[in-house]
C-alpha cells in the first residue's frame, strides 16, 4: 500500500472554487487513476483525480469538444512525467496540472487548486 494510506483514511479532500475552499470527499474514496465529478457552488463542475503516487488534481469536468460533463470518467495516463486524462467521448487528452488540451491547442479546461486537510 502507498504511504499516504494512513492520513488519507481520516483526511478530507478540499477544492478551491471562485467562492473559496469547499470540502469534497474523504481522500480514501479516490481510486488511483479514476476520477470523480464535483458539483461547484456556482453550478459548474470539476473533475477530481488521484494518481498512483497520491498526487491530487482537479480540472473542469465539461469536455470542451462536446459540452458534456464527462472528463472525470476518462482514463488517465502519463506522458513525459505529466499526468493527463483522455476524454471518454472523443478521446482528446488534457494535462491534469495545467488543463491544456494536448491534442488541440485551441482547447483548454480550467484548473482548480486541491488540498487534503
Amino acid at each position: 500500500m502507498t504511504i499516504i494510506e494512513s492520513p488519507a483514511t481520516t483526511a478530507t479532500v478540499e477544492l478551491r472554487s471562485a467562492t473559496g475552499w469547499i470540502p469534497v470527499c474523504p481522500a480514501a474514496d479516490l481510486e488511483p487513476g479514476r476520477g470523480v465529478a464535483v458539483l461547484l457552488p456556482d453550478g459548474g463542475q470539476a473533475a477530481l483525480f488521484r494518481d498512483r503516487g497520491g498526487a491530487l488534481y482537479a480540472i473542469g469536468n465539461v469536455d470542451p469538444f462536446t459540452g458534456a460533463g464527462v472528463l472525470c470518467h476518462g482514463l488517465t495516463g502519463s506522458a513525459g512525467g505529466r499526468a493527463y486524462v483522455a476524454s471518454p467521448l472523443l478521446k482528446q487528452r488534457f494535462d491534469l496540472a495545467d488543463g491544456r488540451c494536448l491534442d488541440d491547442d485551441r482547447a483548454a479546461v480550467p484548473v482548480y487548486p486541491v488540498r487534503v486537510v
Binding site: E31, L39, V70, S78, A83, R106, A107, P110
Partner: protein, 867 residues
C-alpha cells in the same frame, strides 16, 4: 533491351494517344494497373472492350464459388473506383468484332467504333471441346467463366452424377466444382496419369490416391468416344474408348484451351502453328501498333502460356513498352502450386528431369499420400521438382532452383524425424530468387520495399510490390523475409502496444498467462518500458490489459468482475459503468436477448422500464432493444428492475461477445434444415461475457438462404442437411469482409469445440482492437494457418484452448446482477461525489417523434480558451 525506335510509333504515350484494350480478363486488368502505375492513364485515353457481362474477375479462384461460398463479387479483381480514378472507359458486355489496321479502328458489337494509336489484345483462350458425337447435348458444359459456373450450378440442381473430360489442372478444378455441388464426380483422363503436364507417374499415383480418397472416381488411360443422350436429348452418360460406359447427367469438357486469336487472324496478323498471336519480346505483334498479351499470345519462345503468372509478366512488358520504358518477356517457367480438391500439388523448374544427366531424389509414402521429387544436376544444382500432398517446402525450393541448396537434397525431401524437415530460412536465398511467381517479385525487390520504400509490414510490402496478391502461395515466405529484413536493417519495428509497453498485445497475453500476473501495475512495473515503469500507464494499454486480465481471470486468479479493485480504473468508461456513454454524457442500456428470442412478458418489462424512466427506445441492428438517455445514478435502479425480470447484461459496452443473431430456422421456416434459434441461444449463452481484443459478433442461419447474415460475422454458422458450416472472419462496419468457410457439416459438439478453439486462439494472438477479419488477414498463413491450428491442432494447443474456454464458461457471472447487490460497487453510480442526489445539469433532452433526444450543444473551442 534494345527498343526498336524506328518503328516505335506507339511510344512514348503522347496526349493525343488512344490505347484500346480488347479483353478484360485477368491479364487485361493487370495491364491497366501497370499503365496506371506508370502514369500512362493520366496522359492517354484508355478504352476497354469487355466481352463478358462483368469486369475482370479472378478466374483462378473460380472454384471457390462452390467450395468456399465465394460470390461473383468476391471474385472481382477491380478495386472500387479504379476505372473512374484513372479515367478509363470500360464497355462491359461489348466485344470487339473487327479491327481495321489500316484505319486503326476497332469496331465493337454495339457498333461503337474507336480509333486507336495502340491496340492491345488480351482475349485469352476458349475451352477446347473434342469433336465427339453428342458434345452439344443438353447437359454438356465448359468451365471458364462465371456464366459457365452459374449454368453448371443450375443444371446440377437436377443432376446426381457429373463427369469431367480431362484430368489436367483445369479438369481437376472442374471436378472440385462438381464435388462442391454435391454430385458424384468422375474424371476421365486420356493420359495414363492425372495432371500429365505437371507431375510424373509417382506424383500422379499419389495425387490419384488422394483424390479418390475424397470420393472422386478417376479413370485414366481412357478416352471419351461419345456423349450418350437419353430420349429427352439430355446427357445420360459417356461411351469410353475401352468400350465401357459411364452413367452421368452432366458433363464438363476440360480438355485444354485454345488461344482466342480470331480477331487477329481476321485482320491478317500472323498466328502460330497451333494458334496464338505471334509477338516479339516486347509483346508486339507484326504490326507495331498492336500488342498481344496473356493466353491469346504466342510468346517469343514459341510457347502459349496457360497460366496467369506469365500473362502478368506480359502485361507488365507491354505497359512498359507503351510507357517508353524497357521491358522484355522472353519466357517463363511453368512452376505451379495448386490446391486441387484440397490436395496440394506443386511442380517447378525442370520437373520431369529433361536436362541431360539430371538425377532424381524421391521420397514417396503412399500411406500418407505424400510424394516429393527433386531433380538435381550432377554438381548438386537444384533443377526442379514435384511435390504432392505436402507443399510446405515449395515456397523455399522454387526460389532455390538454379542454385546449389545449402543442405543435401535428401534432407529436403525426407519428413522431419527421418533426417529431413530442415527448414531453410529465407536468408539462404539469393537476391534474384523469385519469391512471388504470380507477380514476378524477387527477394531483392522485397528487400528494397523494406529498405528503400520504408514498408514495415507484410500488408505494406504486398501493396508496394504486389507480391503475395496472386495465388497466395508465397505469403508465408514473404512474411519471413519481411521480418528478417526489418530485423537486419535494425528498422525499429516498434510492434509495442503503446508508449508504456514494448510488447504486442499477444506477447502480453503470454506473459500474463505464463507468469500468472493478476494486476496491471505489476505488469507495468515489471514488464513495461523502462520509462513507463512506476507511471500511470495510458488510455491504450489500460483497457487492453484489463481485457487480457478479464479473459484470463479464472486462470490467473484475477477478480472476474470488471469493476473490482484496480481493474475498475483500467476499464474504458463504458465498461466502468457497464453501459455505453452517449454524446451528452448520458448512458444506454442494452439487455441481452439471446438469439433475438424474447417472450411477450419480457418485451412488456422493457416497455415499462423505458416508459417509467423516460428512455428513448430503439430496436438495434443486433436483434435487441436499446434504451437510451439514462443518467449514471439511474443505471442501478433501471437494472434492478431488469435483473428482477430475468434480464442480464448484453455487454454492448464491452469488447466482448455482442449478439448471436438468428433466423427462425427449421421450427417455423419452410426452408429451415436445423434449429438455428436454439443453436444461436446456446452459443450466445456459452460465450456471453467473454472479453476479447475487439467485439465479437455471431449469427446462425437455418439454411443456405442466410437470413441471419452469418457470413458477415466474426463467427457465423449456417445449417446444412448434415449439420453446420462454420464461417469465420466476417465483418460489417467500415471495411466489410465476407467470412471464410472454416469447416463443413459439423455436429453440434464439433461446432462448439471448433468455435471454442477459434475464439481462444484469436484472443491469444490478436492485436488490440483487431477484429477477427483483420486478424485473419494479418497473421502469417491466414485462414490455412488458423485451420491448421484449430482443426488439425498443428501447434498442439487445442486442449489448452478448450480448457481456457471451459474456465470462462464455468466462471461466468452476470456483471449487473453482481453490481446491484454490492453497495461498494454501487457507490460509483453518482453524478457528483459531493452531491449524490443531484443530477448532472449538462445532461439535457428535447423531444422528437414522441421520444427524448439529447439537446443539441453548440461548442466553440475559442470561447472555452478565452473563458
Amino acid at each position: 533491351m534494345a527498343a526498336s525506335p524506328a518503328e516505335n510509333s506507339a511510344s512514348p504515350a503522347s496526349p493525343a494517344q488512344t490505347i484500346v484494350l480488347v479483353g478484360h480478363g485477368m491479364v487485361g486488368q493487370r495491364f491497366l494497373e501497370a499503365l496506371a502505375d506508370r502514369g500512362v492513364t493520366g496522359r492517354a485515353r484508355v478504352v476497354v472492350l469487355c466481352e463478358e457481362p462483368r469486369p475482370a474477375y479472378d478466374r483462378v479462384h473460380l472454384t471457390s464459388y462452390f467450395t468456399e461460398g465465394a460470390t461473383p463479387e468476391d471474385l472481382s479483381m477491380v478495386e472500387d473506383g479504379f476505372m473512374a480514378e484513372h479515367g478509363i472507359e470500360l464497355h462491359v458486355g461489348d466485344p470487339a468484332v473487327a479491327v481495321d489496321r489500316e484505319a486503326r479502328t476497332v469496331t465493337a458489337r454495339s457498333g461503337l467504333t474507336v480509333g486507336y494509336d495502340t491496340l492491345v489484345l488480351a482475349t485469352g483462350s476458349y475451352p477446347f471441346v473434342p469433336p465427339v458425337p453428342g458434345k452439344d447435348a443438353q447437359g454438356c458444359f465448359v468451365y471458364r467463366t462465371i456464366e459457365d459456373l452459374l449454368a453448371i450450378e443450375e443444371y446440377a440442381g437436377h443432376s446426381r452424377t457429373g463427369a469431367v473430360v480431362g484430368g489436367g489442372l483445369l479438369g481437376l478444378e472442374a471436378a472440385g466444382a462438381l464435388k462442391g455441388l454435391g454430385l458424384d464426380t468422375h474424371v476421365v483422363e486420356f493420359a495414363p496419369r492425372l495432371m500429365p503436364v505437371q507431375v510424373d507417374d509417382g506424383g500422379g499415383d499419389a495425387l490419384r490416391r488422394k483424390i479418390e480418397g475424397l470420393g472422386v472416381t478417376v479413370h485414366t488411360g481412357v478416352g471419351t468416344r461419345e456423349i450418350v443422350t437419353g430420349d429427352d436429348g439430355r446427357v445420360a452418360g459417356m461411351a469410353l474408348s475401352d468400350d465401357s460406359r459411364l452413367a452421368a447427367d452432366l458433363v464438363v469438357f476440360s480438355a485444354g484451351v485454345r488461344p482466342r486469336d480470331e480477331l487477329a487472324r481476321a485482320c491478317g496478323l500472323p498466328v502460330g502453328e497451333r494458334g496464338g498471336i505471334v509477338v516479339d519480346e516486347t509483346c508486339r505483334t507484326a504490326d507495331p501498333a498492336v500488342f498481344a498479351i496473356g493466353e491469346c499470345a504466342q510468346a517469343v519462345d514459341g510457347r502459349v502460356y496457360g497460366l496467369v503468372a506469365p500473362g502478368n509478366e506480359m502485361a507488365e512488358t507491354a505497359a512498359r513498352t507503351i510507357a517508353g520504358d524497357a521491358g522484355a518477356f522472353t519466357g517463363a517457367d511453368l512452376s505451379t502450386k495448386l490446391k486441387l480438391l484440397g490436395v496440394d500439388v506443386a511442380s517447378f523448374g525442370d520437373a520431369h528431369g529433361a536436362a541431360d544427366g539430371s538425377l532424381d531424389v524421391v521420397y514417396s509414402d503412399s500411406r500418407s499420400g505424400v510424394y516429393r521429387k527433386l531433380v538435381v544436376a550432377a554438381d548438386g544444382t537444384l533443377l526442379g521438382g514435384i511435390l504432392v500432398g505436402d507443399c510446405e517446402s515449395y515456397g523455399m525450393l522454387r526460389p532455390l532452383t538454379g542454385t546449389v541448396p545449402p543442405v543435401a537434397p535428401e534432407h529436403l525431401v525426407l519428413p522431419a524425424g527421418a533426417g529431413g524437415g530442415v527448414s531453410l530460412g529465407p536468408a539462404s536465398l539469393p537476391d534474384d530468387a523469385v519469391i512471388c511467381s504470380c507477380h514476378n517479385v524477387s527477394k531483392g525487390a522485397i528487400r528494397a520495399a523494406v529498405t528503400e520504400h520504408s514498408c514495415t509490414s507484410v500488408p505494406e510490402v504486398k501493396k508496394c510490390t504486389k507480391a503475395g496478391t496472386g495465388c497466395g502461395s508465397c505469403v508465408k515466405v514473404l512474411g519471413q523475409l519481411v521480418d528478417a529484413e526489418l530485423e537486419a536493417n535494425g528498422v525499429a519495428v516498434d510492434k509495442g502496444l503503446c508508449g508504456c509497453f514494448g510488447q504486442t498485445r499477444a506477447e502480453l497475453y503470454e506473459i500474463v498467462l505464463t507468469l500468472r500476473i493478476a494486476s496491471y501495475r505489476e505488469l507495468l512495473d515489471r514488464h513495461g518500458r523502462e520509462s513507463a515503469r512506476g507511471g500511470e500507464g495510458c488510455e491504450i494499454c489500460k483497457p487492453a490489459v484489463a481485457s487480457i486480465l478479464a479473459s484470463l481471470a479464472p486462470v490467473v486468479g484475477a477478480s472476474g468482475h470488471v469493476l473490482d479493485g484496480e481493474q475498475a480504473a483500467l476499464q474504458d468508461t463504458n465498461d466502468h459503468f457497464l453501459a455505453n456513454m452517449q454524446r451528452n454524457g448520458s448512458y444506454s442500456i442494452v439487455p441481452r436477448v439471446p438469439g433475438g428470442e424474447i417472450t411477450p412478458e419480457k418485451l412488456i418489462v422493457l416497455g415499462e422500464v423505458a416508459r417509467d424512466f423516460g428512455l428513448y427506445t430503439k430496436i438495434t441492428g443486433g436483434q435487441r432493444i436499446d434504451l437510451f438517455g439514462a443518467r449514471v445514478e439511474q443505471l442501478p435502479l433501471i437494472w434492478t428492475r431488469l435483473v428482477d425480470a430475468g434480464f442480464e447484461s448484453g455487454h454492448a459496452y464491452g469488447k466482448a461477445l455482442r449478439t448471436v443473431k438468428s433466423c427462425v430456422g427449421s421450427t417455423w421456416c419452410r426452408y429451415g434444415v436445423q434449429d438455428s434459434v436454439r443453436m444461436a441461444i446456446d452459443l450466445e449463452l456459452r460465450y456471453r461475457g467473454l472479453r476479447s481484443p475487439h467485439k465479437l459478433k455471431s449469427a446462425v442461419s437455418g439454411c443456405a438462404r442466410e437470413c441471419a447474415e452469418a457470413q458477415s460475422k466474426d463467427f457465423g454458422v449456417i445449417a446444412t442437411a448434415n449439420g453446420w458450416n462454420l464461417y469465420v472472419g466476417g465483418n460489417g462496419g467500415a471495411t466489410p469482409r465476407h467470412a471464410d468457410l472454416l469447416a463443413k457439416d459439423l455436429s453440434d459438439a464439433e461446432l462448439v469445440r471448433l468455435i471454442d478453439r477459434f475464439l481462444m486462439y484469436y484472443i491469444r494472438t490478436a492485436d488490440r482492437l483487431e477484429r477477427t477479419s483483420v486478424w485473419l488477414e494479418r497473421i502469417p498463413g491466414g485462414l490455412d494457418h488458423v485451420r491448421d491450428v484449430v482443426v488439425h491442432d498443428s501447434l498442439g494447443i487445442c486442449a489448452e484452448l478448450e480448457e481456457l474456454m471451459a474456465a470462462h464458461v464455468a466462471g461466468y457471472r452476470d456483471e449487473w446482477a453482481q453490481t446491484i447487490n454490492d453497495p461498494e460497487r454501487l457507490r460509483r453510480f453518482v453524478s457528483f461525489v459531493n452531491a449524490p442526489d443531484t443530477p448532472d445539469p449538462t445532461v439535457r433532452f428535447v423531444e422528437e417523434r414522441d421520444q427524448i433526444k439529447p439537446e443539441p450543444v453548440f461548442v466553440s473551442l475559442t470561447e472555452t480558451v478565452n473563458a
